[in-house]
Symmetry: C2
């Protein structure tokens, strides 16, 4: 690695010389500052065009202490998950939220300790104005490392009930409760659930919502009606198959993710059950992939667009109000009824 041909890139100074103005004036023009005579502005712009000038961002951030970039770090050792719709949809949502700003979105992978160290140095080094984190596991120290360094940081989802870092989350318990209440209204009573991995807070919350709904309806939750998955389709299939075998009397299943709901459907059909006449299925829609499941599937919709927007908004607030220790935003989910579950 060696310096790119020096002198090749025109500097602000050269633009100023060509336009016959001072450097300050050129700076004002490229930053759209007010108080520049229209004629000089045009002269400067002509010079910029002639030289093909592009501002050096390193110099700009050094002088202006702003990077005009934010990182979206993906901290997932299991790289296969990167391909999942949930991830790409979140990336899209955040990208859309930043679409008409001048802030460059940088996705980074943080899979190992070495990568974590490198990323923290990168972020603390002032190359980004803030960091968005998704898919953070409960034991991950990265959020605290960043927050302690004074970097604006926003999590998607929380690591525990008393997360001490700014986050955006969906109302997981409420959404799950609503789903199960829908089943109850439809006359179902023996409702099982396929949970997410229970070391994740999101999975705990959805399970809690499921139990609350049953309790409120006067039905005592039964551990035997709960089977744990890991948010993959295969786990949904397996967990549902187990559930059915142990409890043929189940007349509905609440799956804590859309992917697992797809697996649940497959398992039910494989077992010769009709859906939903025989057994109804509701999933928690992580990623708006309704078209991949079935039209008869009623789901709880997690508003990823809004989550993306909220993350960006919180990040801006973090930057502007460093006196706030942290803030939390919970977004409402929505029950989407399709078919007659």
């Amino acid at each position: 690695m060696v310096k790119r041909q020096p002198g090749t890139t025109p500097t602000l100074e050269e633009v100023a010389a060509l336009a016959g103005v001072g450097r300050g004036t050129v700076s004002r023009v490229i930053n759209n500052a007010t108080g520049v005579k229209e004629s000089t502005r045009r002269a400067v712009q002509r010079a910029i065009a002639e030289l093909g000038y592009v501002p050096n961002l390193a110099a700009r951030s050094l002088a202006g202490r702003r990077a005009d970039a934010v990182a979206l770090a993906i901290t997932e050792k299991d790289w296969r998950k990167f391909g999942e719709p949930f991830f790409s949809e979140v990336v899209r949502a955040v990208g859309d939220a930043l679409a008409d700003t001048s802030v460059q979105l940088l996705l980074t992978l943080v899979r190992s300790d070495a990568e974590r160290t490198r990323f923290v140095e990168y972020a603390r080094g002032g190359r980004v104005d803030g960091v968005l984190l998704m898919s953070v596991h409960a034991e991950d120290p990265l959020p605290d490392m960043l927050a302690d360094a004074g970097l604006p940081t926003v999590l998607l989802g929380r690591r525990s009930g008393d997360e001490q870092v700014t986050y955006v989350d969906a109302d997981n318990a409420g959404g799950a409760r609503e789903a199960v209440e829908h089943l109850l209204r439809g006359g179902r009573r023996a409702i099982g659930t396929v949970t997410g991995p229970l070391d994740m807070y999101v999975a705990q919350s959805r399970l809690r919502g499921y139990r609350e709904a049953l309790t409120r309806a006067g039905i005592a939750p039964r551990a035997a009606w709960e089977a744990e998955g890991d948010f993959t389709e295969e786990s949904g299939r397996r967990a549902t198959a187990e559930l059915l075998e142990r409890h043929p009397e189940l007349d509905a299943v609440f799956a804590a993710s859309d992917t697992m709901a797809a697996g649940a459907l497959a398992a039910l059909r494989a077992a010769g059950r009709r859906v939903p006449d025989d057994v109804a299925v509701i999933g928690f829609d992580d990623f708006q992939l309704a078209q991949h499941t079935e039209p008869l599937l009623t789901t709880v919709r997690q508003p990823l667009e809004e989550i993306g927007r909220a993350m960006v908004r919180l990040l801006l607030e973090e930057m502007e109000q460093p006196e706030v220790a942290w803030r939390h935003v919970i977004l409402r989910t929505r029950l989407v009824v399709r078919g007659s579950a």
Copy 2:
């Protein structure tokens, strides 16, 4: 957006003061330069630890004209493709290739003209040392914009036969030829193909390889045996179904991607054909997802790990030898025989 609390972050100067040395010495220590007495080195490191010092990267790149970061830009309007294994595998491969360097990998999305402009300014602004591009469409001006700006740029795949930007590609024609030759050796004669989108060079190359194999075997290629897909599973299914309907005599199918091969398998089975007794299928393995297809499927393996390494290597060469206009590397594919196709 507002400056992060100024003065909050210790500078190299403060470290030097605390350690009682000059700034140059501190710089040497943090850059692992040789020629520093062990005792002073330790003193400096103690000061660094005490202050929690982290180098300011903007200042470093300004002074040193190096960003220590490279961008991997994903120029794909159709964002769904981001979730495909090919993409995530390439990202992983490049990430692995950079794993034990101090170079930070930054993924960026370039979906619109606005994003393209923003990214070019970012890259030209000196925030990255080079750019890797994947999934570049034939008409995309981005590679030329970057290369013209003097930025080291490496494409994954080429846009045409005489690509004038550095790229890494697989031997698509050779791989396809090998696949078809394998079918011929197995006694198949009526071999159809499902091609990729023919406005992409990679699809043209694989089609060419297919035709060459037939020609060499004394079989005249027939347009009617060729059906166009778009690298998706669904298109593979549809194209294969068409092929079979028009030409029930086909005894083998070469699919120009693994995804389409999966679709081809489904179509064959739906049509009641047995695989491979009745009709054999070979796919071009973009993404090493063999486990998702079938054990009986023989594939052409595209070496993504090596492609990632080669891209990184070429990028480094671009940086070191700006006098080379461009360079091309074609990697060998490998026929992986599973089952009896």
